[in-house]
Symmetry: C2
């Protein structure tokens, strides 16, 4: 538990002491379970597992707004439409989530916990990382064509591992929900790219053959 990044450099005794300050609650969910009843000021931190923020719109489209891994955060704060559209938070694995009160976290603590400032620094690191991920997402979605969305996405995955041989961490169906395009159109484009020799692919395994410096 104390291996959650938000508690980096804080001792276990301190942690328990602090968790009172901002009313931290840990809750466990099983695979496939939906997380609901999140209060608006509450922040969720993924202690373990994976969750996805999904929007279902009125014409039946499913959109993966975010996939959040360990140490990632989420909260109503981040989706302006969470009340309007149908946004669901789904656990893809058995997951443990810590909910904390955002205001208590950020404001100076009355009890003056000595490690509160360490906590805030850790939080800054987590939120910064979230910003970077969101920026990457914007970069993908801002591409004008399906092909460029795919290439931008492939390049990012490839950059992480340093290999041209990538495995997509989604089902291809989910990938289309993530890229916000039609699944069949996406598969058709991948087929074209295969035919043009830009990639090699079979299901979730993709090998980049195009010149990455070009994109």
């Amino acid at each position: 538990m104390s291996d959650t990044r938000i508690f980096d450099n804080i001792t276990d005794e301190e942690i328990n002491q602090m968790k009172n300050c901002f009313k931290a609650v840990n809750r466990k969910y099983i695979e496939g379970e939906t997380i609901n009843n999140i209060e608006s000021g509450s922040l969720g931190i993924v202690v373990s597992g994976v969750v996805e923020i999904i929007r279902f719109d009125f014409d039946g489209n499913r959109t993966i707004l975010e996939r959040i891994n360990e140490n990632g955060i989420f909260g109503k704060l981040f989706f302006s439409q969470i009340d309007e559209g149908d946004v669901e938070i789904i656990c893809l694995d058995d997951s443990e989530i810590m909910f904390i009160d955002y205001d208590h976290l950020t404001k100076q603590c009355h009890n003056a916990c000595s490690h509160h400032s360490t906590l805030i620094r850790n939080m800054l690191s987590i939120v910064s990382e979230k910003s970077i991920k969101l920026s990457n997402r914007v970069e993908i979605l801002s591409q004008r064509t399906l092909r460029k969305k795919l290439i931008t996405y492939f390049n990012m995955i490839s950059k992480e591992t340093g290999k041209k041989n990538i495995v997509i961490p989604f089902s291809l169906s989910s990938l289309s929900d993530y890229l916000c395009v039609d699944r069949s159109a996406m598969l058709r484009e991948m087929k074209k790219m295969r035919e043009e020799g830009l990639i090699d692919s079979h299901a979730k395994k993709v090998t980049i053959l195009y010149d990455q410096t070009m994109f």
Copy 2:
């Protein structure tokens, strides 16, 4: 200068003292000027003015990745493609930018400045706000049709002011760069929406006539 949000609740004397710690440099730019030579670990904070992060891709598309107002932040950190594509940072007004070294900001200061933790708390607030803005952006770009992108965008602007009568803070040409769609296609769609009685619009002035609870 001390009205920059990052220095909230820190006295002027303290500020000057601290600015040494993380090598803060303030620089002024005139309208239309491009900001370049940003070091990779450096973070820009908009003290005054407005800047836009623009990507020009190989087939001549212009994309507004972000528009950053006062107290907003930017940095290489946030664009994975800044080295690859042609990303420019342009001042839309006369602007003052403070550059700081991100690592010095986040790590514990050797001089143990007493207000360093206040600074980090302020930074957390700024970065959180950035995350929220980016999430909103993702929500717009994730819409599958041009019409829905427009509606989502209009709703957000409308939500800020609480009015159905909005003025788009871009030229319509820039708006299309922001929504990542073709300008003429966007204008055509707005025309259709006018004809269907969903909006009323003339240039940058748009009045929402549709039922906002529906979207």
